[in-house]
Symmetry: C2
Subunit: 191 residues, 2 copies
């Protein structure tokens, strides 16, 4: 019996040590004491959902043609694959990068260049009564206050295909959400 | 002493069990008996390097405007961060996806749609005397033979900024390679 207990302890310590590393950069939202979101770390090592170029909700498009790369942490992505839903504390990062056509051997189309900033979407009802909150960061911003509701929340509320996520633009996640019945097909309709 | 040995065994088994999962989908090249590359699994869960839209090495561009998303396995990415070099058995996947402008609330620019196929680049001198080999896959291809050298190899040999990788188009890896002195700056020059 003592041996069994001791074995349990060793295994517990062993797994505990292995879990320690991810915990230090957990891909979950961290806040300052006044509810500002701390800049997420290492999101370029999260799961890539998709990218766009110059996507715009107005017909004239954006002034600067930027790429947008969307990432979610591994743990939230795994949960979504199992349920078609985003768990509490999910974070999305939308990274904005410049675009360039002529460079090295490239002569047409566009490739990505410098970081221009990034937005973060958080699902966290313990910090935000409306559950979803939106933040903007520049490269060296350490923390950011949630944007006013009219800035992002309303559009996500009205147009996103799965909860507040624009899954209609994430081609590998669409079939997952459809399988679990969480996909609002009508959100694909052109306005 | 017996206790120490036993502890080592438990820890070994414990770590062994945890390593088993990644081993089953190791992000390293697997081949058929006649040296065809097996389709890599789950590369959408690898590290994203960058994406392009309609990138082309000829001025008139491509017929179909496609997005290209580039991924490498976590283990190879970690090695690159430490050395600026790609380890043996590194695989790159270049995924090709369709693009669309009008859809849901999007009115300008481009978002990604269906998978059109993908290319794989492998660094593996035990299988290929010239170290680097190139393969093309469609969505359901199970294995593929290396392309003739003229198809991809020569261009990567002559124009890639780090070994055979087009790091000039991967903005987060450029500074890493520059730090380790493995970046060929002249490969950025426009032809």
């Amino acid at each position: 019996m003592r041996k069994v207990l001791w074995l349990s302890t060793v295994i517990f310590v062993c797994f505990g040590a292995l879990q320690a590393a991810p915990d230090s950069d957990s891909g979950k939202p961290q806040y300052t004491s006044d509810n500002k979101l701390l800049a997420p770390k290492n999101f370029r090592q999260w799961i890539f959902l998709s990218s766009g170029l110059g996507m715009s909700y107005s017909p004239q498009g954006a002034d600067h043609l930027m790429f947008t790369n969307v990432f979610v942490p591994q743990w939230a992505y795994s949960e979504f694959l199992k349920s078609g839903k985003w768990p509490e504390q999910t974070m999305f990062v939308v990274e904005e990068r410049g675009s360039q056509t002529k460079g090295s051997i490239n002569k047409a189309g566009h490739f990505q260049t410098d970081l221009m900033g990034y937005g973060v979407e958080v699902k966290d009802s313990t910090h935000f009564p409306e559950k979803w909150a939106y933040f903007n960061f520049e490269e060296n911003t350490k923390s950011a206050q949630a944007n006013p509701k009219a800035a992002c929340f309303d559009c996500h509320e009205q147009h996103a295909a799965v909860e507040h996520s624009f899954t209609q633009f994430y081609p590998t996640l669409k079939p997952v959400a459809k399988k679990f019945g969480t996909y609002k097909q009508e959100r694909e309709n052109v306005d």
